[in-house]
Assembly symmetry: C2
Homo-oligomer: 233 residues x 2
DNA sequence: GAGTGGTCTAGACCACTAA
DNA sequence: TAGTGGTCTAGACCACTCC
């Protein structure tokens, strides 16, 4: 009763997905093991394994050794966000990218920023503020702390010509990071720079990154009015 | 010169990652092909393939047939968001979940909702409004359209007992969906329900889902003040 | 045309864990 | 302790694409 004579893992994945979505296999139900499915489809177990691993990554099934593979009861949907550098994000919209450095100076970060970076010391970090523009209009306000001890080369970079965002992505290796999305009311300074009314609701992305536990940068990116971050399920 | 005598794809993936992050292999550089790496590590090509596929998924390398594998020039960071049902989200925080249906009635959706769902007709949809609570405090306002033609069973469900969110996740299969994140100022009604001041900046998630091009539901989830959605890079 | 990654196979052993 | 998924191997053929 194999539905496909092409024994590609894609075709098998599609058939298994169909059975799940059409409720042939109910949520929570145990499905046949890899060997049995391989026999049914007339292919090697490794091929079935590849298909099932893919479905597990997508959250459609749960797999456990010995316990077997079950259709997920409450499929936790996973959305993958692609986070490009800002210039690319704007150019991908066919808009002209603009950039302006607002300020750049060495300072000791306040405790909240130190906390996010898990950096106890009183070291000075490079604090930069910059504005990214799309077609000449304010697009994103970037408020950033950079660990100059970890990235000393940043001292030689002319941040009025290239954004810290772009330079760091290309030059600062990182191993881990956390990211948070939220909303904030525009304060005086932000409203001024982004040219929006005070208290306008703005979309905020905060990101902190490390290279093997050494903090690299902590950035708050405040998008102008009306920004929507999209993805597919 | 193999660095690990354990030939697991994980250990190989780790070593390749180290070479990329430490700039032994520069961004944009072509790395050795699978056969050569397999020989270097003393393992089968399939094992190297597994490691490289994993790194490609993560965006650290670009792979093309014939052209080989290159270290990504601008690593587009990918963040995966896990989107659970609201009850689970709250219970995972060790808070007590509460739920209240505000309204539920059949209506023709306005053009913006029809547009999002790509549904031209003048069919009536079930419009529901509900409040989710955490430890008794307003957590999330859910404003939803449900395609009763696609999911007639929803008519028999007592939505004052189970949220549409939870019922649909468990009972309405879906194949595709789009999701958008943004910020909005609390309007009178929303401010009232969520018990926040007018104009408070609120985090919004909008989601539209289909089952094979048949719209299932379109929902706007407005989180109470201070909500942050987090993930790791 | 030739070199690269993409995939499949048949078999094997291992790691985990439910019973 | 037995059954399941997790992984690895050695080999093969294929699909794509750069030259």
């Amino acid at each position: 009763m194999a539905t496909s004579s092409i024994h590609s893992w894609r075709s098998i994945e599609g058939e298994l997905r169909r059975r799940i979505q059409s409720r042939v296999w109910q949520p929570g139900q145990l499905i046949p093991n890899e060997s049995d499915l391989a026999e049914e489809f007339g292919c090697a177990r490794a091929t079935v394994n590849r298909a099932l691993r893919f479905l597990a990554e997508q959250g459609l099934v749960d797999r456990k050794r010995r316990a077997g593979t079950r259709v997920t009861l409450h499929p936790v949907r996973k959305a993958t966000l692609h986070i490009p550098i800002v210039r690319q994000e704007i150019e991908d919209r066919n808009q002209e990218y603009g950039y302006a450095l607002i300020s750049s100076k060495l300072e000791v970060p306040p405790s909240d920023a130190r906390g996010r970076m898990k950096h106890p010391g009183g070291d000075k970090f490079l604090k930069t503020e910059a504005l990214h523009l799309a077609d000449g209009k304010p697009y994103l306000f970037e408020d950033r702390w950079i660990n100059v001890k970890a990235i000393p080369e940043i001292g030689k970079v002319d941040l009025s010509q290239i954004s810290a965002n772009e330079w760091l992505v290309a030059n600062a290796p990182l191993t881990t990071g956390v990211i948070a999305f939220s909303a904030m009311n525009a304060t005086g300074k932000v409203a001024d720079v982004l040219k929006v009314a005070i208290n306008t609701a703005l979309f905020v992305v905060e990101r902190t990154t490390w290279d093997n536990d050494v903090p690299i940068t902590d950035v708050k990116m405040i998008y102008a009015d009306g920004y929507r971050m999209r993805t597919v399920l």
